[in-house]
Amino acid sequence: MSSLLEVADVSKRFQMGGILGRQEVRAVDQVSFAIAADKPEIFTIIGESGSGKTTLARMILGLERPSSGRILFRGEPVHHENKADRLKFMANVQPVFQNPFEAFNPLKRVDRYLQSTARRYLGARDKAAIEAAMDGALQKVGLSLAEIAGRFPHELSGGQLQRVAIARALIPNPPLLIADEPVSMVDASLRMAIVNLLKALRDDFGVSVIYITHDLATAYYISDRLIIMQKGRVVEMGPARTVLDAPEHPYSQLLKASVLSADDAGAGKLSPANDLLQLSNERLARADASRLEDREDGRRVRV
């Protein structure tokens, strides 16, 4: 089996807070997984806020270098010094970031943004070809070039902007898409449309997707495999439905138990699952001496 992506024992430490009050943050701690080249999948990362999901995504994109461990895309390191090599890599691995308001330059019209992406990756020169590529990508996300032409980011709603961000990522037809919370700002209907779009990209075009989300329901709905992270560490990983149907690690259980339900609408049930919270904290306190253990059903759990 050859890998599309191989993440091997990757860690990242940051120094936070500059000279005064300097602290070391272990953002990502010995994470390993691989995505096969011949088996496109939706690989989901869920977990605590601040647990290193975005940092991991940035390292896979070659935007951040691991403190230790290695990341290979089709057998080659993702970090490229050479500009041409970097561009070739970027055509294969495209990001969709967490916050569309951040991803766009407020002073640049959004169609210009798509235009420069098309020009850069497709080498397309004539206007008609560029516009066709832009419109094609926009149509895939339920927009059109006519709708967004001439508009600045602040003139679009959050949901529109996020769809433009996905369309932009689709322009070079990459085999791997890294989507960091792509649906957190859109309505439920559109959310399903985007999630179904990711599914279709996998099924019809063989695109693998690393899907980072806080939404356990869509994670269940589309993922093949998932990992659950807490404080930089993977606490549980495996086939998505196996794990989410019956999570084993206390933190995974806590996550599932904390999902708000609409069933008691109006009752205001916001009390935390204290027993699970305590169990999860106890595990965290002795996490330094922990390791991932294999289970028969294909999952790995931190013990």
Partner: protein
């Protein structure tokens, strides 16, 4: 204004622009009338780009060109003389900012000044309204951040050194540390994991009960509305199409769009394909005539194509803008088409 802290009357706010000599008008808020009671949590939901952010920008007195209030009013009563934010002067607005009125913008986690440490940002905004300085101020901020499950070390950090969810909590902290009377929040918990989200929502809820504050908040997450809102308003294409107490809206919606919205909640364990709402979202530059939902509405009749349904009472505290409000049936989750009564 008595029981109400905010009264919005027939509010219209449009984006008026001209591109290369062609005038364009986006009717983002098109005739909204509603009231928010003291100590009430009022949730707003609706389709992406239906005008929710535009509406609460007006409420937050953050009206900037090309957005213009075309007509109507939005008046607050904070005890002193009532303030209509659609006509208030910058000085009048400054007088209510932070202490009375605070606004958590959509995506505000990306608006933190990148070259200032979080601690400095708190000083800039909150020290004066709180009337505290030095260690007393710091102590208050640290305590407040603790409620948001943030360690005091974030005060030394620059925004880019924090994760998305940490920054989102910082902005919630900024908006709530002065304990304002009225909090306006646009998608305040989208970047949080579900455990922290629950904590943050209960903090907001506690603040609201303790301080007697009122909250208007926008989110797409219907399960958040279900658990924190007292009343919910549904916006479709720039108009309020339904408003009801939370439980009623979920169990007995009286507008086909709301019925669709509450049924579209995905659940863990559910792998059935959920079809998105048919048809395209309407253009706010050239919205459909009559009921704006008619091109996508399974209940539409001829009248809907030409006559605008008014927002009228359909029950206690319950208003709907639909010619066939009484034929709307709640949907079984998983089916997106509104059902017709037999």
């Amino acid at each position: 204004m008595g029981d109400n802290i905010l009264e919005v009357e027939a509010l219209k706010a449009y984006y008026q622009m001209s591109y290369f000599g062609v005038n364009r008008e986006v009717r983002a808020v098109d005739g909204i009338t509603m009231k928010v009671k003291r100590r009430e949590v009022y949730g707003i939901a609706g389709e992406s780009s239906s005008g929710k952010t535009s509406f609460i920008k007006v409420l937050a007195a953050a009206i900037r060109p090309p957005l213009r209030v075309v007509s109507g009013s939005a008046t607050y009563d904070f005890g002193g003389p009532p303030t209509d934010v659609t006509v208030a002067t910058p000085a009048e607005i400054d007088a209510i900012r932070w202490r009375h009125l605070s606004y958590i913008m959509q995506g505000s986690m990306s608006t933190l000044n990148p070259v200032r440490r979080i601690g400095r940002i708190f000083e800039d905004f909150a020290a004066r309204p709180l009337g505290l300085s030095g260690s007393a101020f710091r102590q208050r901020v640290v305590e407040h951040l603790g409620h948001l499950k943030l360690s005091p070390t974030v005060l030394n950090a620059y925004p880019h050194e924090l994760s998305g969810g940490m920054r989102q909590r910082v902005t919630i902290g900024l908006a709530t540390v002065c304990k304002p009377d009225f909090i306006i929040a646009d998608e305040p918990t989208t970047a949080l994991d579900v455990v922290v989200q629950k904590d943050v929502l209960s903090l907001i809820k506690n603040l609201q009960t303790e301080m007697g504050a009122s909250i208007v908040f926008v989110t797409h997450d219907m399960s958040v509305h279900a658990n924190i809102a007292d009343r919910i308003g549904i916006i479709y294409a720039g108009r309020l199409v339904e408003e009801a107490p939370t439980r009623t809206l979920f169990t007995a919606p009286k507008h086909p769009y709301s019925a669709h919205l509450v049924a579209s909640l995905p659940r863990i364990g559910d792998t059935t394909q959920r079809p998105a709402l048919e048809g395209r979202p309407p253009s706010l530059a050239a919205p459909p005539a009559g009921c704006r939902f008619h091109p996508r509405c399974p209940l539409a009749i001829d009248k809907c194509k030409t006559e605008v349904p008014p927002l009228v009472a359909v029950g206690t505290d319950h208003r709907s803008a639909c010619w066939r409000a009484n034929d709307v049936e709640p949907l079984v989750p998983g089916h997106s088409r509104a059902g017709v009564a037999a």
